[in-house]
Symmetry: C3
Subunit: 155 residues, 3 copies
């Protein structure tokens, strides 16, 4: 899988794997699964994408935020695996948390921004189970947070 | 385990496994565990059960919604395993998300609608770990979403 | 690892493992991983720590609540493993849910109350992946709920 080539096709670059904003680590491998911490969305310029989503006009912003979370997930997976994505066997599960006003029900469309990137990058191995829910607030005021479980090939 | 007989006893039928409402798959098996996507509640007539839960009067509605999510989880597990539940070794974990107003604190009672169905259907193998939280909004405006992790016997 | 000695150093005692408040079990082992149910915060005196977090003044209360959740997680892990923590290989993942008003964005600081306890008790084996989100309401009105995934050594 040439992820870098696919990223270039999409006009995207993997960000630097961000340091955790608190007392934990980006990813832990156990039992053949890599559990990746919830990632928050940074633009290419390194700005956080912030703000609660309240209505249909906010869907596109949310999708971009979700895509940026997914890019950061991939960056964290690569960093955790010593700089290569070769051991990625399957994206197993994404957990999508969307900062949502009380009448915003488009969490599935929003989290698609993350899901579609995984499939674009990893093909069938990127097809994952998922939950998508609307939460009252997220760290630092961001719009979306996504965590992941990834199945790994033996080292 | 004759799940169909137990369902009949309870006056329930497994629904058709619903197609995901977005870019993901219903379930992924890895490392002996099946991760099942968050399921939303459909009545037997195929209507979504919608609306935030605000007070004690909403508990019964929430429990029914949670039970319907659990039925759909079982339908998805069965579909993922080729039409049989024989490989189900243990329901490991349910994640219950309840659309909750700011003063609704009965998430445990609500999610019991899902938990009790799992125990009724699978017996000791249905006894699971669980989290239950109140969220601001859920996909399509539904009242409850439940995802699952299931331990499988070798194929 | 002498967890009891480390607890004593910190002036903490493991609580009695609380019975689930509903129809589920505290922890399930499968595929080398122990999934532990979401735990809620009790003070040493056995009182629930309740209330939504709304601003910077609530961070310290939230951190204490998160620490108490983590203590209860450790108590549940120990109980699930027959009274000893010797089989704990790694704290893999914590899921932190913080009852948050719409403008409370310090979920990472709050959940640090749990994360830092795990590292204090288990050292490198306590370093975990994490998600931290703000939810609208939690069971019984508590301020924080934390669940966990733990990798175990063979029995």
């Amino acid at each position: 899988m040439d992820i870098d080539a696919k990223l270039a096709e999409l006009g995207l670059t993997l960000p630097q794997a961000a340091a955790p904003v608190a007392a934990y680590v980006p990813a832990v491998e156990a039992g053949g699964l890599l559990h990746v911490s919830g990632q928050i969305p940074f633009t290419e310029a390194g700005e956080l994408i912030k703000g609660r989503l309240d209505g249909p006009d906010d869907v596109a912003k949310g999708q971009e935020a979700a895509q940026r979370c997914a890019l950061m997930l991939v960056a964290q997976i690569k960093a955790a695996l010593g700089g290569s994505l070769d051991r990625v066997e399957r994206i197993v599960k994404l957990g999508g948390f969307v900062a949502s006003g009380p009448d915003f029900f488009d969490q599935p469309k929003v989290v698609n921004g993350a899901s579609e990137l995984m499939v674009a990058l990893f093909g069938d191995a990127g097809k994952h189970a998922r939950s998508a829910v609307g939460v009252s607030a997220l760290p630092l005021g961001v719009s979306v947070e996504v965590d992941a479980i990834v199945a790994l090939r033996d080292a």
